[in-house]
């Protein structure tokens, strides 16, 4: 009976893989995978820009901080 298991399982596994591959292809084609890095920067703005730490212990700052 073991061949039966493989006869059923293999096509299913292939089908599953194929659908996953197709889903990825579809997502890529429709631009779902674009602009990722832009999203990463969406939490920053002019006032709290990239490159500026926003949290400190009260009254404790690095000595070389010149920004403020």
């Amino acid at each position: 009976m073991e061949w039966f298991f493989y006869a059923v399982a293999l096509p299913f596994a292939l089908l599953f893989l194929a659908s996953a591959a197709y889903a990825l292809y579809w997502a890529a084609k429709n631009g779902q995978l674009k602009e990722f890095e832009k999203n990463a920067a969406s939490i920053f703005d002019d006032e709290e820009p990239v490159g500026e730490q926003t949290d400190y212990f009260p009254g404790r700052r690095p000595a070389n901080e010149t920004r403020r």
Partner: protein
């Protein structure tokens, strides 16, 4: 770009997948498991739980016994449940179908209780153990359940339920004075204590269902079972 519908769909499918697989499929597969009628014994198994034991289960639930005691025996060869004498066979789903709430448990700070009624059927032992676990099992971390007992004045004849406490623990230290009844007083278990004990004594899966056979190759099982089951601690 608005990905909200895509996210929502994925999120829905993700949980729907396991809900179908774990909950729904099993509910369909064995959610309607029925008791078995044994022609030879002319009885239905698992047997109905007596009312007093059902009330005892509620006490078991409200005191939170489940947090230290499991009620499931694992198969021979996986863990040492059967070698410890916690059961003659592994637990199967049919064992639990009469229970309103299934209390499998996840902790074994204390021993498994699935077959406690089979290995300790003496209600006096259970009452002493509940009153002060150190009397029967010195060194235990089980809390005392003295509040399930009543210290009361003897009026007329002494109660037949009155507890007979030993004067000292196994190691010779005397029981603390506040837990021993003084002259003219007696210690009696409340209804809750008695129903809890009835529940515990009723806990035993001794009937062999068809599905409990051949779960394990027979010779191997016999070979392993011939080793003497270990004694339950005290």
């Amino acid at each position: 770009m608005n990905r909200a519908p895509l996210i929502f769909l994925g999120v829905f499918l993700a949980l729907a997948f396991s809900w179908t697989g774990i909950v729904l499929t099993n509910q369909v597969a064995y959610g309607n498991l029925t008791p078995i009628y044994d022609d030879a014994e002319e009885k239905i198994f698992p047997e109905a739980t007596p009312g007093v034991a059902q009330r005892g289960q509620l006490v078991y639930q409200d005191l939170g016994c489940i947090y230290c005691h499991t009620q499931q025996v694992r198969r021979l060869g996986y863990g040492s449940d059967i070698e410890r004498g916690w059961g003659e066979r592994q637990s199967v789903p049919r064992d639990y179908i009469r229970e309103k709430r299934v209390l499998l448990g996840t902790m074994r700070t204390g021993p498994d209780l699935r077959n406690i009624g089979a290995r300790q059927a003496d209600s006096t032992w259970h009452l002493l153990h509940l009153y002060d676990p150190q009397i029967t099992s010195q060194g235990s971390v089980m809390p005392p359940y003295r509040f399930l007992f009543e210290m009361r004045k003897i009026v007329g004849e002494a109660s037949p339920d009155a507890m007979n406490l030993p004067s000292s623990y196994v190691d010779g230290t005397p029981l603390p004075p506040h837990s021993v009844p003084t002259e003219g007083y007696e210690l009696v278990p409340t209804e809750r204590a008695k129903s809890l004990v009835a529940y515990l004594i009723n806990l035993k899966d001794t009937y062999a269902y068809p599905e409990t056979f051949n779960v394990f190759p027979e010779e191997e099982a016999e070979a392993e079972q011939s080793e003497a089951p270990a004694e339950e601690g005290h």
